[in-house]
């Protein structure tokens, strides 16, 4: 019969594919290899050309150990992480709410569109300086400056997500009288996950950078503040050591939070 033929084909298709998992292992190895290659080129450049302004990776690694041992790096990194986490969360929530409302209601979109364009194009440094001047050199100003810089990006991404919602699937939810919670979690939000993910990825990268500038300009602790100090002493090794620590955190968040989340919500696309 026709159906059994199709069934057999399907069974064959949905068998777990070993080649896929081998492929993902290979891509992980390539990612690690590219980083190792960068370190090797760096080390080789230092040996061959004896560049004065570029300390070797081993020297940077030793400095990193020293800064950790003195408890100075964990403290400042912890302060920065707190600021990043807090402002990232608020910016994501605020930006998502504005973006979804804009995508859903044409009038809200009209009202906020120009403001959003303005928010996207004002240089981060201007917002930072103004916040410190208006609200003083305190934690509130620091976090507010980051949120004002980041929220418009999230709003733009989520607005596009809300506009791309498949109305035909929402009709299914309506016809089958799904309660709003179930419509939200099983029909609406799954369509937005790729947009949340994109906003979170770019958001995290942007928030890190802005937080460091905020700390450089107006804080007395945090990685940005420390980098300012090292700059004054021309301590390139310490600057790179902090960058190492910073990179390690980024890879950890990417590997432990973002990638697993992405795998989970996009599993159906890859089958």
């Amino acid at each position: 019969m026709i159906s059994s033929g199709v069934t057999a084909m399907l069974d064959k298709n949905i068998q777990p594919k070993q080649t896929k998992s081998r492929g993902s292992n290979t891509s992980t190895l390539i990612r690690i290899a590219s980083l190792l290659l960068l370190l090797a080129i760096w080390q080789l450049s230092v040996w061959l050309f004896a560049v004065q302004m570029l300390p070797s990776p081993t020297a940077v690694f030793n400095a990193l150990i020293d800064h950790i041992a003195s408890n100075e790096l964990p403290y400042h990194l912890g302060v920065t992480l707190q600021r990043v986490a807090f402002s990232f969360t608020i910016a994501m929530l605020l930006g998502s709410a504005i973006g979804l409302l804009m995508g859903y209601f044409k009038k809200v979109d009209n009202w906020f569109d120009s403001l959003l364009t303005l928010g996207l194009n004002i240089p981060a440094l201007v917002t930072i300086i103004l916040c410190f001047m208006w609200f003083g050199l305190n934690e509130f100003s620091a976090v507010l400056a980051v949120i004002l810089n980041k929220a418009p990006n999230v709003a733009v991404t989520l607005r596009e997500g809300a506009k791309a919602i498949d109305k035909s699937l929402m009709e299914v939810a309506k016809v089958y009288q799904l309660p709003w919670q179930r419509t939200l979690t099983k029909v609406y939000l799954p369509q937005l996950y790729p947009y949340f993910l994109a906003a979170a990825r770019t958001g995290l990268a942007l928030v890190w950078k802005i937080v460091l500038v905020v700390e450089l300009v107006g804080c007395s602790d945090g990685v940005g503040f420390q980098l300012g100090n090292f700059f004054q002493f021309f301590d390139i090794t310490s600057i790179l050591a902090y960058t190492f620590a910073f990179a390690a955190i980024i890879y950890t968040i990417e590997g432990l939070v973002l990638r697993p989340w992405e795998r989970k919500v996009t599993r159906w696309r890859k089958c």
């Binding site: 949905i14 919500v265 159906w268």
Partner: protein
Amino acid sequence: MLTIDIQNKSFDSDVSIIKNLHFSVDKNEIVALIGPSGAGKSTLLNLIAGLDEEFEGTITSASCATHNIGLMFQEARLMPWLTVLENVLLVAEGRKDKQKAKQDALDILKLVGMESHEHAYPKQLSGGMTKRVALARAFMFNPEVLLMDEPFASLDAPSAEQLRQKLLILQQQMSSSILYVTHDLTEAVAIADRIIFLTEKPMTVIEQREVSLPRPRYLHDPEVSEICQFFYRQFPDLLCSHENSAKCM
């Protein structure tokens, strides 16, 4: 059981799409609505399903229950991120006993021949298979009246025939009424207890005919062809103008 009384339905322009349309569907009855493409049959189903509430008239259900009308769209419209089983269970929200709901879903999937694919995603299925899952989902909702909008139109003939037979089995088991929209007279004769003939611009009922052939009926049955020929002769302007023109010769 379901009474439709639509005085007027128009969109932005003042041109009526549906005008003075009255008919009813009885308990356990399968009613086929047949009319030209573009007449407004899908619009009518949207009105009955509550997707469009802007019209003059009334649509009433005898039981007055809110949980009583399901709609199977032309496309399967499965949630791509849910597995086959999750898609079917999606509409079983009100049920307290989750284990029982799951078992019911598995039973319905078995009935439509999808029991071995409960963990597959829609993307992994053929067109016919997604339609089977959509059919299972529609019956999992346990509707008193199931509206079907040319549900098997995009399928090849054997798959469509197979699904029509599955539909009849499910309809008997669930004691649902079915309002089946099609533009194919042979399909209407093969599946319905009663056929309602519709005109276009504006859409209105021109004739209702009982089909009293014994079941099971198949598209190629001589009795089905005979009745179709009779209808083609009765309504040449309505049935011979579009898709069915070849069959009128």
